[in-house]
């Protein structure tokens, strides 16, 4: 999708073009859903948040001024919706942030198990990646999101800091804590590292196609 197309689509949405907004939903629903899933950790909550995100976009698209890219704007709204939801559910995010701030030597490591996907959901697709997802879901939401923003969505520290309203130092610190926590979990899992290793060795050696083929993507 070219930038020009996107700009046109957005301006049509601003004018109240129903069809254009449908197209916009189509274009962004997967991205929003995936971000929400990573933050919320399960299908049900991710669905609710995704729906809320599009409502917010619908209500406020006229105020989008193009100062950031549209997808960054959408990301921002998604994160806010999910954070609101997590916050309203418990004071969890605030508490954990507060606790982190209280320690003098950087942030304290803190893991709280989040909701896991339904068991049926876990094994139906690529098992390895799903097991990884389960472990990621067990991370504290603050760590989970930030790790995925960095490693999966390839956002820069600056972009993450801007989106979450954190300092770069905090972002780095949190990402590193997340990496440490995830590595521990994977080691504790037993076989997972070996399997991941095998996967990437195959890819590196160029046998039988790359990881994409293995994952069926």
């Amino acid at each position: 999708v070219s930038e020009k197309d996107e700009a046109l689509l957005i301006s049509r949405c601003k004018e109240g073009d129903d069809e254009a907004f449908s197209l916009l939903i189509e274009r962004y629903q997967q991205k929003v859903y995936n971000t929400a899933f990573r933050m919320m950790g399960n299908y049900h909550d991710a669905s609710d948040c995704t729906q809320e995100v599009f409502l917010r976009i619908f209500r406020s698209i006229r105020s989008f001024r193009g100062e950031s890219s549209f997808s960054t704007w959408v990301y921002h709204i998604t994160v806010n919706v999910c954070k609101d939801e997590l916050r309203s559910r418990s004071r969890h995010i605030d508490e954990s942030i507060d606790e982190m701030l209280q320690t003098s030597d950087g942030e304290r490591h803190k893991e709280i198990a989040a909701d896991c996907p339904e068991p049926s959901e876990i094994y139906e697709t690529t098992e390895l990646m799903d097991r990884l997802q389960v472990l990621i879901n067990e991370l504290d939401p603050n760590y989970r999101l930030i790790l995925l923003m960095r490693e999966h969505d390839e956002l820069s520290y600056q972009e993450i800091a801007d989106t979450l309203g954190l300092s770069i130092g905090t972002v780095k610190s949190r990402i590193n804590r997340a990496r440490i926590a995830l590595r521990k979990k994977i080691i504790a899992d037993g076989k997972l590292f070996a399997e991941i290793e095998r996967l990437y060795d195959i890819e590196n050696k160029g046998k039988d196609g790359g990881i994409g083929e293995l994952l069926g993507i």
């Binding site: 301006s11 109240g16 729906q51 599009f54 917010r56 209500r59 990884l132 991941i196």
Partner: protein, 333 residues
């Protein structure tokens, strides 16, 4: 570099943030230390694996739910525009000024939604559709019940441009002059028509120009002045009192009209003078949306109107993404 120092630098290494010298030392240590090499390897694998986690398909049922929710929102927001002036093309940004009218209470809600990127969306002429608000009792009921709760919590984002014109153009109002005066008195200080020491009743009488010229129902405004709970801790500063009274009077001009069509016309007239869109939304609340040149201009206008130093306490800001609402709420005594 020993193992401890090495471990401290792992993430900087993974993020390519080590200076050339430090990176060289790091690699040297890695080459000779199996356990450190293994650790780095694991982090690298982890990075790769997380990066390659497949995207989930958005479930079809979710897709449908989103569409249904948007459709519901669309219907909810199908506000009925009574009048809308063609937008000025030069408007770089817009600010919305919404007045909710409650019996015995006046609540202003300001929504400043800067909107510099949508000049084209601002050209449409909006016509009106009376059907949706055929039952004026309902409107009044809504207003009364709203005021009974004392406050509104919703900030309305405006969707005037979305409204499709399904109905005849609204009749040209006849009493422009008087409404211009109303406009003046709302918009600027000092206002032209500023009664000395206005009381609530005087105000109601001093502003009926609008109501009097049109076939207003005999309903007394007092009928609408149902007792309402005092809004929490809303001591209105003396300096803003006049403004509030004036606003209340203007509001009452509209509320006196029991005839729906008439109400629409009157709202339209006032809206025209204010260069704004007056609408009755689906919740049955009257509101006026005032478009201003930009956020600062809007803010300034509001401040001027409300005797500056007291304004802050009435304004709260909320931010969603890039959008900033400013909500101004005022309760009359």
């Amino acid at each position: 570099v020993n193992c401890l120092e090495f471990k401290e630098k792992i993430f900087a290494y993974l993020d390519n943030e080590l200076e050339a010298d430090a990176a060289r030392q790091f690699r040297a240590h890695m080459a000779g230390c199996t356990s450190c090499r293994e650790e780095v390897r694991q982090y690298e694998l982890l990075q790769n694996a997380v990066h390659d986690m497949p995207e989930r398909e958005c479930p079809e049922e979710l897709s449908q739910k989103i569409r249904a929710a948007i459709e519901a929102e669309r219907n909810k927001q199908k506000v009925i525009p009574l009048y809308k002036k063609p937008w000025m093309r030069t408007i770089a940004a817009a600010a919305a000024f919404v007045i909710f009218v409650g019996a015995g209470s006046v609540i202003f809600e300001n929504i400043f939604a800067a909107n510099s990127a949508a000049p084209e969306s601002q050209k449409s002429n909006i016509t009106s559709d009376y059907d949706i608000m055929a039952d004026s009792d309902l409107v009044e009921q809504e207003v009364v019940s709203s005021s009974a709760t004392g406050l509104f919590s919703t900030a309305y984002s405006y969707t005037a441009d979305e409204v499709t014109s399904a109905a005849p153009e609204i009749a040209e109002p006849e009493n422009k002059k008087d409404n211009a005066a109303v406009n003046e008195s709302l918009m600027s200080s000092p206002p032209q028509e500023k009664p000395d020491a206005p009381t609530s009743d005087e105000q109601k009488n001093s502003l009926p120009a609008n109501a009097a010229d049109t076939p207003v129902s005999p309903q007394s405004p007092s009928e609408l002045d149902v007792p309402m709970p005092q809004a929490p801790a809303q001591t209105v500063p003396a300096s803003t009192k006049e403004e509030l009274e004036r606003a209340k009077a203007v509001a009452n001009v509209r509320l006196q009209v029991s005839d729906t069509k008439q109400a629409c016309q009157e709202l339209a007239e006032i809206a025209k003078n204010l260069e704004c869109a007056a609408e009755i939304n689906a919740d049955g609340l009257f509101c006026i949306e005032l478009e201003l040149l930009d956020y600062d201009a809007a803010y300034k206008a509001i401040c001027e109107m409300k005797s500056l130093e007291e304004i802050e306490k009435f304004i709260s800001r909320d931010k969603i993404g890039e959008m900033e609402y400013t909500v101004l709420r005022i309760w009359c005594e």
